[in-house]
């Protein structure tokens, strides 16, 4: 009989939950993990990781069709779509078993099934009822319960995914065949990445956004260049766009899209609905507890505590920003707080966001507009990749880097990047923001030459009137 009583029980094995379990184990706490489907959660299985595998394939496809400038010539370039998808699944599987291995190494027992709050024992411990189709329910107990059940795609009325013609991210990750014509609703990170993948694989893609610009959370100049780049790649981009009632046939869907009072109809093979996500709050036993739920997310304080003592919520379940690294950070913070360590609440202006479309987009902190709204007098620096030696050598000159500084204190309020490899570079600015560096330390930092990251240095200098190479 394995152990059923723990210091901490984690419900959900995604990047929030499994990291919480690993950290708890590191700190010498007894911890168990309840996971219903697969370790690694959406991130490893149906999100971050498999999409990166697909996007790598589409990048290769793009390069194979753009060999001329490098002096290559290739005829009859083709791909086996099944193998492209199979590789993506293999990558997920490898990482998911990696998580299982890490948990095993950390001696964290994993309970298969759905975990649910089920009252309190006489000595004040939380009871968690674990149910699974095949087996009898099991009751576990713990002093602390961390809920980390994540989120799923939002299904808007009229465009609910049907799994055949209307896809959510799930179906979009494992298609049987390449759709020739695709319409993507929603231009957040998920919608944009799928639009970019399918377009670069050769599909005819239309990206539809209800807001006035795509990637609405990014800086306006980033959205503008991204749209321009996508259109240059042959993608149709519609903003301020409203979706009308679908007309489905066996094979295709006709979608009326209204832009500025004008209605256009698009007949496509598949539609991807990427209109946000909702928290997995159902069947967690939240009813009748003091745990509050607002707009499908569990309400927590800055240290991830819910209204019930000893119950915590982290990651997507606890609300935006819906990012794996936010979940993992909250996991560590939450567990360390339980262990009595000094922790620091998350400042969301220090959480980077990355979108792996082509060109890549990465940002941290305030956009120029939001900094101004917040009352800062800003200094803005911009540096185009066309002026960067490495970018030219790589043939990746599309893009720019923008910095936003507080004129008064020299605080780096935000940084916004679009171009090749920017998702790998944003951490430099995140460190600067977290370490509270000012323009002075950034200007004094020696960046290696030749790298695209030199543009980060130049964008700092540019904010203070001194970009050297532009």
């Amino acid at each position: 009989m394995s152990r059923t009583d723990f210091d901490i029980l984690v419900v959900g094995g995604g990047p929030g939950g499994y990291v919480a379990a690993l950290r708890a184990s590191q700190l010498g706490l007894s911890v168990g993990l309840v996971e219903a489907q697969h370790l690694g959660g959406i991130c490893l299985n149906w999100g971050c990781i498999p999409t990166k595998a697909l996007l790598r394939a589409s990048e290769i496809n793009h390069l194979l069709h753009d060999l001329g400038p490098y002096g290559f010539k290739a005829d009859n370039v083709s791909f086996d779509f099944t193998k492209v998808v199979a590789r993506s699944r293999a990558v997920s599987k490898q990482l998911s078993s990696g998580v299982a291995h890490l948990l095993k190494k950390a001696k964290v027992p994993v309970f298969d099934g759905y975990g649910k709050l089920d009252g309190v024992t006489s000595d004040g411990k939380r009871k968690i009822l674990v149910t699974q189709d095949k087996n009898a329910p099991v009751t576990l107990t713990a002093k602390h319960v961390i809920l980390a059940t994540g989120a799923r795609a939002r299904a808007l009325p009229g465009i609910e995914p049907d799994g055949k013609l209307i896809w959510s991210y799930r179906e979009a990750l494992v298609p049987d065949a390449m759709p020739a014509r695709l319409l993507v609703i929603g231009s957040g990170a998920i919608g944009t990445e799928f639009a970019s993948f399918y377009r670069n694989m050769g599909a005819d893609v239309t990206l539809v956004e209800v807001a006035p610009r795509i990637l609405p959370v990014e800086d306006e100049e980033i959205s503008a260049l991204a749209q321009k780049a996508f259109e240059k790649q042959g993608m149709k981009v519609l903003t301020n766009a409203k979706i009308g009632a679908f007309k489905k046939t066996e094979q295709d869907v006709t979608v009326p899209v209204e832009v500025n009072g004008k209605i256009q109809s698009f007949t496509v093979d598949r539609v991807i609905s990427a209109v946000g996500i909702v928290g997995n709050i159902e069947n967690l036993g939240l009813e009748g507890t003091k745990i509050k739920v607002e707009r499908t997310h569990v309400v927590t304080d800055a240290l991830c505590r819910t209204g019930e003592p000893g119950v915590y919520a982290i990651g997507d379940l606890a609300g935006a920003p819906w990012l794996a690294h936010k979940a993992s950070h909250e996991a560590v913070m939450c567990v360390e707080a339980i262990a009595g360590k000094t922790v620091h609440p998350i400042d969301i202006t220090k959480i980077p966001g990355c979108t792996y479309c082509r060109p890549q987009i990465a940002s941290v902190g305030y956009t120029e507009a939001r900094a101004k709204e917040a009352g800062y007098k800003v200094r803005v620096g911009k540096f185009p990749l066309i002026a960067n030696g490495k970018a030219i050598a790589m043939g990746e000159t599309e893009g720019f880097i923008k910095t936003v500084f507080d004129d008064k204190t020299g605080e780096l309020l935000g940084a916004h990047m679009i171009g090749a490899e920017v998702t790998e570079m944003i951490q430099g600015y995140v460190i600067a923001r977290t370490g509270e560096l000012t323009e002075a330390e950034l200007a004094e930092t020696i960046f290696p030459h030749p790298t695209i990251s030199e543009s980060m240095h130049e964008a700092v200098l540019a904010a203070y009137g001194g970009a050297l190479h532009f």
Binding site: K341, H344, K408, T409, G410, E411, G435, E436, T438, A440
Partner: protein, 420 residues
């Protein structure tokens, strides 16, 4: 930031001592004022108090180690989550000395390495020069707002001062500049006037009153301590290793009890003068003079005659600790029927104390030192201390004072009375 806890000097002449006992374990959370360890000399057991807060990261000198040099690092305090730094042959004093050398251009730099420790001994264990860790942004904002980073508590990783700390500090009303106002007095030398604390005012008023209104007279006697110290060792050996029943009697604890016994024998000393009558107190409540950073306070061991040595010891330790932390309740230091002032740990030969009114007497205890004594017709070595009783002549006449001292001496020299 790691803070070194140094071996304190209990007297100006002390060069080494015994680390008797650690009262905290590695990993314990330490608040300022907590007693970390006990240091022993021939006469006194002194407590090493934490000046800083943190976690006791590493104990470098184990319990019972004798001959620990003054200013040697005995432990390391760290911040939450901070790793304990490697400490190789910690010689804080030497490094401070070499630093001073480096900044003195007149001295040849080569001398620095061989300069022995000349740092004045300090009673409290403190890490000397604290580097301020602050983010560049915090530094800049502090500069813009004219804030002193040294006065700001950091809440970032490992106590680093970050923007929010500076902003929170600037949100609070600025207290007056910490440096005291300069005096405008004329003269060649410069001086600084330090405004009186409330405690300083009370001390000034009460002692002036006492010394000018009470007709003091003084009687001294030499007392041999060897028997008492032998008994102390025996008694301490019976203490459990640890737990609530563990105790460690100090010489002072035993002298408190001895005074209480003497007061019971000669009750007229346990009295107060009033215009109408002499008040003879039934209870023997002994005030113990404790020096604290901004003055002096006298916590009281009540009914000391009825308490066991162990009770007195534990109670005194607690009172002194809370006195130094400024946490005494008024009833714990107001009242009392007799006072003891012990300066033995400072190595003083003898001194006389000012009476603490409305009490009638105070006993001044000096250092015990080995000296030749004549026993019968033989010369012998004994540990002798000089005690001086200051007496209010309105209450106690000279012969009574002498009788009291004689009783006190006989109790100390035949100390089994203390355990009956």
């Amino acid at each position: 930031m790691a803070i070194e806890v140094l071996m304190p000097a209990l007297s100006p002449t002390m060069t080494e001592g015994t680390l008797a006992r650690w009262l905290k374990k590695e990993g314990d959370t330490i608040s300022s004022g907590d007693v970390l360890a006990e240091i022993e000399t021939d006469k006194a057991t002194m407590e090493v108090e934490a000046v800083d807060e943190g976690i006791l990261g590493k104990i470098l000198v184990t319990e019972g180690t004798q001959g620990v040099p003054v200013n040697a690092t005995i432990a390391i305090l760290v911040e939450e989550g901070e790793a304990v730094p490697e400490v190789a042959a910690p010689q804080k004093a030497a490094s401070t000395a070499s630093k001073i050398q480096e900044t003195a251009p007149a001295e040849p730099a080569v001398k620095a390495a061989s300069v022995p420790s000349q740092t004045p001994p300090a009673l409290s264990a403190v890490g000397a020069d604290r580097k301020i860790f602050a983010s560049p942004l915090a530094k800049r904002i502090a500069k813009q707002k004219g804030l002193d980073l040294a006065a700001i508590k950091g809440t970032g990783p490992n106590g680093r001062i970050v923007r929010r700390d500076v902003e929170n500090a600037s949100a609070k009303p600025q207290s007056a500049s910490p440096s005291a106002p300069k005096s405008g007095s004329a003269g060649a030398g410069s001086s600084t006037s330090v405004p009186h604390s409330t405690m300083r005012k009370v001390i000034a008023r009460r002692l002036s009153e006492a010394k000018s209104t009470i007709p003091h007279f003084y009687v001294s006697v030499d007392v041999e301590l060897d028997a008492l110290m032998a008994l102390r060792s025996q008694l301490n050996a019976t203490s459990p290793e640890e737990g609530p029943d563990a105790f460690k009697l100090s010489v002072n604890d035993m002298l408190v009890k001895a005074a209480a016994v003497a007061l019971k024998r000669i009750p007229t000393v346990n009295a107060s003068f009033t215009e109408e009558a002499m008040i003879l107190h039934d209870d023997v409540d002994i005030s113990i003079a404790v020096s604290i950073p901004d003055g002096l306070i006298t916590p009281i061991v009540r009914q000391a005659d009825k308490k066991s040595l162990k009770q007195i010891s534990l109670e005194t330790k607690d009172l002194v600790k809370r006195a130094r932390a400024g946490k005494l309740k008024p009833e714990e230091f107001q009242g009392g029927t007799f006072s003891i002032s012990n300066m033995g740990m400072y190595g003083v030969k003898d001194f006389s104390a000012i009476i603490n009114p409305p009490q009638a007497a105070i006993l001044a205890i000096a250092a015990g030192r080995k000296q030749p004594v004549v026993k019968g017709n033989e010369l012998a070595i004994a540990t002798v201390m000089t005690v001086t009783l200051s007496v209010d002549h309105r209450v106690v006449d000279g012969s009574v004072a002498a009788e009291w001292l004689s009783a006190f001496r006989s109790v100390v020299e035949s100390p089994l009375t203390l355990v009956i």
